[in-house]
């Protein structure tokens, strides 16, 4: 089983290397970008089947001793990693197939495909790694690939700045994350995940809150939570398929994954859990408001991702680890679907703006239907996957007690609010895109909606978006696949019950209908107007993400630039002054000495004889 896990990592890496190396023949590029990932998908399925509901299985070799600590290379298959691995390979395969025709007219397609394969390998490394340091390596490679891929259209300034912003903001979280991992490894005496979890389970952890906060910083950065969420909307400058892969389903989910992986550490720090809940609550409501006001459909989906990730983080904060992971998987499916469908629409319409779309349901039937499924899952229409997973989280928040009580209340209130807001922006998106008049109605436009390679992934992803939720009805079955916080096996009878129940479902349903209804009402009165006007005066603030970009610029970017200018000034004026001063002093001294050389021979003789007399006098004095 570990061998197949290793293959799952190695095959996309191989594909990436081959594509980078021999990027000339397009035919081979297409093969090498799709085939290894398909094989990896197969391997990950084998891993899951082999793992079943068992505990952790690890296979490692020692890579390098680093003084007191050793870095281990190998794979660790737990229920969590097996399931997330399948998610990653499925979405990656869909994206690669989608890109075959979506990106065929773009420049640098081979590099793009190779980077996607490399990214997939890195994410799988994070998922299957047995050692925290190797996990960190995969983490950082993902960040680098994200940078390259967002900046794919580097001719455009917004792509360049977006990629740098994504990189820097996630790095702001990654540095504390590195410290957290190091501290964790040092405290527990080893960097192997098994050892860490075992130590934490037996001995507890000194400075648990401190370590948990450091780890949380990395999660906040990578999973785009407040205050490090500002990079995700700007990352939409990259091609749409990578938004689907990286910024919806996988990389941003890596933060949540790490919390789920190292959950015992967080369980020892209730203050950090409350902090997590607060962050999650702020993020989910704020970004949902922002999503409501956006005019670019990709930005709507980006803010939506931020909001849904906050849901997952909130679920983890209230102790609902299984529920959060469940939401992670369903979200991966429907968000990837939404992004890919958006990509198809953008290509057809030629623009990202909502104002230029409308009435597309007739011209783009498959996109319409799949996107409807995706949006339904996003909103939490009953019986779609999103409904089950969201209810699971809200149920966990409602049932939260003991150390999770405070967090539970915060997440519950935020979650319910967000349900309404989610319904609002999803309905707005759906109505403005697919209903109403088509702005450029042309009777001769009989273009095919999109090539098959683009439509098939949509349909493939729509299936789990629709039906994956029914897993929750199987009692603790999902919980038994995931295993418990330590990765140990959990019998299906004792697994967390994810079935929606009780008061939360009712309230959530009401709020959903309320949100959707308000928007539908506003739209019905005037189909050409934007329902976002419901926000009134706050529309513009929400449109610009509550000016948090400007706040970050003021707090961090401007001081950094000022510091850079100061350093430059010090270098040229202070340090360089010494250098120039050395030259000036030398020239000055030379000039002074030159004044002695007047050419007047009698002056020279005078000086000469004066010296001679002095020497003679001294000598005479000595001899005497």
């Amino acid at each position: 089983m570990n061998l197949f896990a290793l293959l799952t990592i190695a095959l996309p890496a191989l594909g990436s290397a081959v594509t980078f190396a021999g990027a000339r023949d397009l035919r081979h590029v297409k093969f090498w970008s799709v085939a290894p990932i398909a094989a990896a998908l197969f391997c990950s399925l084998v891993v899951q089947v082999a793992h079943g509901t068992g505990g952790v299985s690890t296979s490692i070799t020692e890579l390098a001793p680093a003084g007191q600590y050793t870095v281990w290379l190998g794979t660790r298959v737990s229920g969590l990693s097996a399931l997330v691995g399948i998610l990653v390979t499925v979405v990656a395969l869909c994206v690669q197939v989608f890109s075959l025709t979506y990106m065929r007219h773009e420049k640098r397609y081979p590099t793009y495909a190779a980077l996607i394969s490399l990214f997939t390998a890195a994410m799988l490394l994070v998922v299957y790694s047995a050692d925290l340091i190797v996990l960190l390596v995969g983490w950082e490679i993902m960040g680098a690939c994200s940078y390259f891929l967002i900046g794919h259209y580097w001719e455009r300034p917004d792509a360049r700045s977006g990629s740098i912003k994504a990189f820097l903001v996630t790095k702001t979280g990654d540095v504390p994350f590195l410290f957290g991992i190091t501290a964790l490894g040092i405290r527990t005496g080893s960097f192997r995940i098994d050892d860490v979890l075992h130590y934490v389970g037996v001995n507890g952890l000194p400075y648990a809150s401190f370590i948990a906060v450091l780890l949380l910083c990395g999660v906040v950065g990578k999973s785009a939570q407040f205050p490090l969420h500002t990079w995700l909307p700007d990352a939409m400058a990259g091609p749409t398929p990578i938004s689907a892969l990286i910024h919806a389903a996988t990389m941003v989910a890596a933060g949540v994954y790490v919390v789920a992986l190292l959950y015992p550490v967080f369980l020892l720090a209730p203050g950090v859990l409350t902090l997590m809940a607060v962050i999650a609550a702020i993020t989910m409501t704020g970004s949902a408001l922002a999503a409501f006001a956006q005019t670019d459909i990709k930005k709507v989906l980006a803010y939506s991702t931020v909001s849904q990730l906050a849901y997952m983080l909130g679920g983890l904060a209230v102790g609902g680890r299984t529920a959060a992971v469940f939401h992670l998987i369903t979200h991966g499916a429907f968000k990837a679907l939404l992004f890919l469908a958006a990509g198809v629409v953008i290509h057809r319409v030629g623009s990202n703006e909502l104002s230029e779309m409308g009435g597309l349901r007739h011209r783009m039937p498959i996109a319409f239907r799949t996107m409807t499924v995706g949006l339904a899952a996003l909103v939490g229409v009953p019986l779609f996957s999103g409904w089950f997973s969201k209810e699971a989280i809200l149920g966990a928040a409602w049932d939260a007690s003991g150390q999770f009580a405070a967090a539970g209340r915060i997440v519950l209130i935020g979650g319910l609010l967000t349900v309404g807001l989610t319904a609002a922006y999803a309905t707005r998106l759906w109505l403005k895109m697919f209903w109403g008049p088509f702005p450029e109605a042309s009777p001769d436009d009989h273009r095919v909606e999109a090539p098959q390679t683009e439509l098939v992934p949509l349909i493939v992803l729509a299936v789990p978006a629709a039906v994956l939720g029914f897993v929750a009805l199987g009692g603790g079955a999902f919980g038994s696949w995931i295993g418990n916080a330590f990765g140990l096996a959990v019998p299906s009878s004792a697994g967390a019950d994810l079935a929606p129940a009780g008061a939360t479902s009712a309230i959530a349903f009401v709020v959903t209908v309320l949100g959707a209804g308000l928007v539908w009402n506003a739209w019905r009165r005037d189909p050409a107007a934007d329902p976002a006007e419901l926000l009134g005066r706050w529309r513009e603030t929400a449109l610009y993400g509550f000016y948090l970009d400007d706040v970050q610029d003021l707090i961090i970017v401007q001081p950094a630039k000022a510091l850079a200018r100061l350093v430059g000034y010090l270098d040229t004026e202070v340090v360089d002054a010494y250098v120039r001063g050395a030259g000036i002093t030398a020239r000055g001294l030379g000039g002074l000495l030159r004044r002695v050389q007047t050419g007047n021979i009698q002056l020279y003789l005078t000086a000469l004889f004066a010296g001679v007399i002095v020497i003679a006098a001294v000598f005479a004095g000595q001899v005497r």
């Binding site: 020239r587 030379g590 000039g591 030159r594 004044r595 002695v596 050389q597 007047t598 050419g599 007047n600 021979i601 009698q602 002056l603 003789l605 005078t606 004889f609």
Partner: protein
Amino acid sequence: MHAVYPLLLGALLFAIGLYGVLARRNAITVLMAIELLLNAVTINLVAFGSLIRDQFNIGQVFTLFIITMAAAETGLGLAIVLMIFRQRGNADIDGQRQLAEPLGGPADETDPSADAVAIAPGDGGSEAEEEPVVARALAKTEAAR
């Protein structure tokens, strides 16, 4: 007699000759002062020769040599003074400033007009060059160099 007297005479004559070499402007007066220097030395030599009375008679023989060389040196020195006079119309040593470093630095050497300007001021004080032949001669020597 006390040996101090001829030796003191030599010493004071030497000092006077030194003053003359350093303070006189005309080249021929400088040559005269050089003769004074040499004579101071010869007085010293003869005095010691008379004092010591060695078998080689070093004092007086050296004096003869010195007198001979003084003659040769004066002749040659006057030839050079003549050359200087032909070059610039007077025999001032002060005016011979070719050894000077231009004040603005080595870059100034390429500018011929700057050469004449840079030479003029300086320690020891020389008058401004009024004679037009001087500037032309300077330019010629610059070109010839």
